[in-house]
């Protein structure tokens, strides 16, 4: 079984309006999401903007308040604000989307990377410095950079600093919230490959949040597709890419560009098929409110949001 279990997670944000700031409704950013995370694997969470994928990640690490549902970490609840949550924080870390704003511009690299070490480990100044130099070495930056400020680095280098900070406490799970979407393509590959190397070296588990299916396909063992706060399909990489069942997944996969000219006609045909299916059968996949149904298993690993039979 997995070490992190999420059951029926809901994150609703109140909409306030009117003279007295009354709550007039809720934005259901995450609306009943369940999944399990096992050690050493890479999970992909895909969805369009506003589908709630980032909110899910932030709820797991405690940056968003959870409306209902449970997050269990090694059998213990990881919700609320008690001491055990702090220990969860030690094992669950996050890499942020924007390498430009996620590093404090007034802090030196040494202080940025040493922050988690100073919070959790009682180390002397020399030990902290040695650890930071080790971490910098691990992410491929020269140890002399410890006295530089973040703005003296390029985007890719900054994201490496972000990664170094995230792995400083030797966490088990790293939530990577679109870690490369702010970088240009050549640097993206560099950072992704290096994250994979780190995974092997440190036996990390990744929860990879993104909208770039190419990146997700490259990295992840398990993929979940999210739409309007709910899962529409969940399965292994092969399940999702070779046997997509939900119309939303099919459309997503049909939209992946293929640069091979020989496949152009085939790709176009597939796209038109999917479009035709969407036009006449899209109602079957979504309920009255346009939301996805509950997940039904169609194989051991593959879950799809389909209406219950009968």
């Amino acid at each position: 079984m997995g070490f992190l279990e999420i059951k029926d997670l809901k994150v609703h944000f109140p909409i306030r309006a009117g003279l007295f700031n009354r709550v007039v409704g809720h934005v259901k950013a995450v609306d009943g999401v369940s999944f399990t995370i096992e050690e050493g694997k890479t999970y992909g969470l895909v969805g369009e903007s506003g589908s709630g994928k980032t909110t899910t990640g932030r709820a797991i690490i405690g940056l968003n308040d959870v409306t209902s549902g449970s997050i269990t970490y090694e059998g213990k609840s990881a919700l609320g604000k008690n001491k055990s949550i702090l220990n969860t924080h030690k094992d669950v870390q996050m890499i942020f989307q924007d390498p430009y704003s996620s590093l404090n511009p007034k802090k030196r690299v040494l202080d940025i990377i040493a922050e988690p070490l100073r919070n959790y480990e009682n180390l002397s100044k020399q030990e902290v410095r040695r650890r930071v130099e080790e971490l910098l070495d691990k992410v491929g930056l020269s140890p002399e950079s410890i006295f530089k400020y973040p703005h003296e680095f390029s985007g890719g280098q900054r994201q490496r600093i972000g990664v170094a900070r995230a792995i400083a406490l030797k966490p088990k799970l790293i939530i990577a919230d679109e870690p490369v979407s702010a970088l240009d393509v050549s640097v993206q590959a560099q950072v992704l490959n290096f994250m994979q190397d780190l995974q092997k070296e440190l036996n990390l588990t990744y929860l990879f949040i993104g909208h770039d299916l190419g990146v997700i396909k490259h990295l992840c063992d398990n993929i979940a597709i999210m739409y309007k706060g709910r899962y529409v399909e969940q399965g292994t990489k092969a399940d999702i890419f070779n046997n997509p069942q939900h119309i939303y997944t099919k459309r997503l996969i049909a939209a992946i560009p293929d640069i091979e000219p020989a496949n152009r006609a085939k790709q176009l045909k597939y796209r038109q098929e999917v479009q035709a299916e969407y036009e006449h059968a899209s109602d079957e996949y979504f309920d009255n409110e346009g939301l996805a149904y509950g997940l039904q298993p169609i194989s051991d690993t593959h879950l799809v949001a389909l209406p219950e039979k009968g």
Partner: protein, 300 residues
């Protein structure tokens, strides 16, 4: 790894200038601000230095044989209606006025920054309550309460007067810091710091505070100018220091006597000029600092 090689090959990049360097460059470029800064440093050093050697009790002792003497002779700047040396009073007065202004600026700064930061960072109900308390202080009639305090407090010192002023002047900076804290706490670096296990206090004072430091420095410099004026204004009206504790305001206050105003200019003109020049200088420096914090306005 290839990145490591890259770091060795590339020559050391030109370091971007530090904040202090930017401020210095701005001051050098703006000659008026530079002259103002030099003037301020000189006058502060002069006033605090000379005041060490002056006997305050001798200066404020009434001497009936030397009433209203014009400048020159025994007294460089003449004497007032009590035969007290104007030059000595000017030195000690400037020192007192500057001390009050600096103390008030520092105290309002500390209170305002802490209050605003806590209020803005915690937010929600706490923010709401703290802001209503601040609003309460804001609507109190400042002048009236100071008059009452002057009547109640029997013995005035620089420190007690600063405390009274501080009690009514910390709100502006608190409000500004709060609005900035509201913005900063939503930024990724503050959020990241929370996921790394830093307590709220640590995020507030170690992460957010350094990022609003330039704003604090500028505001406090500009406040310093305002506080010099405020102290002088209160003393002029007679609600500041008594005559036994000279300040720029009390010297100016002699001008309320029409005789002094018309015929004995040496009593009040030097103080008036000094107030004007001091406030202008602090303001010039403050404006230069303000420009230094905003890259689009920089001249240097």
């Amino acid at each position: 790894m290839e990145m490591r090689n890259e770091n060795i090959d590339i020559p050391k990049p030109i370091k971007s200038p530090s904040t202090i360097k930017i401020i210095w460059r701005e001051l050098v470029r703006d000659k008026l601000a530079l002259v103002s800064l030099i003037f301020l440093v000189l006058i502060t050093a002069f006033v605090y230095g000379i005041a060490l050697f002056l006997d305050k009790s001798e200066i404020v002792t009434v001497d009936l044989f030397a009433i209203n003497e014009p400048p020159g002779g025994e007294f460089i700047l003449g004497t007032d209606y009590g035969g007290r040396d104007i030059f000595g009073q000017l030195i000690i007065g400037t020192r007192n006025s500057l001390s009050v202004a600096i103390l008030v600026t520092l105290m309002t700064g500390v209170i305002g920054v802490v209050y605003g930061l806590v209020s803005g960072y915690i937010g929600g109900t706490v923010d709401n309550i703290m802001m209503r308390i601040l609003d309460f202080f804001l609507i109190l009639p400042f002048l009236m309460i100071v008059i009452v305090f002057v009547a109640i407090v029997p013995k005035y010192t620089v420190f007690s007067f600063s405390l009274i002023m501080t009690a009514f002047l910390w709100m502006g900076i608190a409000r500004m810091i709060r609005s900035k804290a509201l913005q900063e706490k939503e930024l990724d670096y503050a959020q990241a710091s929370r996921t790394l296990g830093s307590s709220n206090l640590k995020v507030m004072f170690r992460q957010v505070l350094p990022n609003i430091s330039s704003l604090i420095i500028v505001t406090m410099t500009l406040n310093l100018a305002a506080n010099i004026g405020l102290e002088s204004g209160l003393s002029f009206l007679g609600f500041g220091f008594p005559e036994s504790t000279p300040s720029l305001g009390t010297l100016l206050g002699y001008a309320r006597n029409p005789q002094t105003l018309e015929f004995r200019w040496w009593i009040w003109v030097p103080a008036a000029v000094l107030i004007l020049v001091l406030m202008l200088s602090v303001n010039n420096v403050g404006q230069a600092l303000k420009r230094a914090t905003d890259a689009r306005q920089r001249r240097g």
